[in-house]
């Protein structure tokens, strides 16, 4: 009795439902929205997706998203400042770039060390980071990792690995701009107090 949507539509719903933030219901709604707007939205989206599928890949040097072997940041000589900022993933790299305060290059780990998930130093490209210290005459490695257990474990591992070969620093912990003390957790307040600065 009950007719199903055409197979191609069903397949598209199933694939869209795998995106973070979408489930089966919202994927169905998105597909109906797309089919109702074929020329304005569905065709351009299909083309954009096909192009990204054909061209996007990881920068061989730093792990950023690139459309060639190297990403724009690794290709830009002005960013060879001798500083490398280590981030967990490409979203964090983009967040740093939006800040616009960092002028050097990056190293994207693609995750954090995790004994539970069997993620070791090789999976994060840490040997490649060590190589870059020599080849790019790096004077400072800035760790911009999350203030989580896994993030801090990874930070300590990298710090130990590079000990004596270059300066290793970490983003400051403290009160976020616009933050009110009343809403901050104890750990942040303790860290901000310990790292207090002279006015």
């Amino acid at each position: 009795m009950s007719a199903k949507p055409p197979a191609s539509i069903d397949a598209l719903i199933e694939l869209l439902a795998k995106l973070p933030g979408l489930g089966p219901r919202s994927a169905r709604r998105a597909v109906l929205h797309l089919v109702a707007r074929r020329s304005q939205l569905l065709h351009p989206l299909a083309e954009a997706m096909t192009e990204v599928a054909a061209t996007a890949r990881e920068c061989l040097n730093c792990g950023n998203i690139a459309t060639g072997d190297l990403c724009p940041i690794c290709l830009d000589d002005r960013r060879a400042t001798g500083q490398i900022c280590v981030v967990e993933d490409v979203a964090d790299l983009w967040a740093m770039e939006r800040g616009g305060a960092f002028g050097g290059r990056y190293h994207v780990l693609g995750g954090t060390l995790s004994a539970l998930d069997a993620v070791g130093p090789e999976d994060l490209g840490l040997p490649r980071l060590a190589d870059r210290i020599e080849t790019e005459q790096v004077t400072e490695v800035i760790l911009a990792l999350g203030a989580t257990v896994d993030g801090q474990t990874t930070a300590h591992y990298i710090s130990d690995m590079l000990d004596g070969r270059t300066r290793v620093t970490s983003l400051a912990k403290g009160v976020p701009v616009g933050g009110e003390l009343d809403y901050l957790d104890d750990g942040t307040i303790a860290a901000a107090l310990a790292a207090r600065t002279r006015l």
Copy 2:
């Protein structure tokens, strides 16, 4: 200083952000998710979307999504029962089909009558619905429209339009299966009381 994502990635983020349920932030997250899973997810999704963009269109008879001139329901002779169920959009048609209780054909309005948004009878394919009464020997038009002001206005308009030409019915209003009286609004309880049935 601050490098942007490649233009093709930016374009994809901007298009994905137009889907219902996704905004700029979640679209960015979705694209990073896709690029990190190129072979498992990005390539299949690009192909599925291209195929749907090339094949999906509206059934010329009922307005359902089809991959040819007519949808599977209009092509199926067993569904020529003389009953037409009028629904607001394709999502509602799929909801009726999931229920599996209706064996006839559909008429998808694509909206409701609305003076504010200047949606008139022609925009909803109502003349075509009137034509179908003759050509498909329809004995009953079942209105499955939302219990909203616009939905009920549209239902009354259709009922007046088809008056005397065929039987026009509407989905019953009452207590939803699994519903508790305590949580129902007064209007639903009043409607359920007025339409009470003998056990």
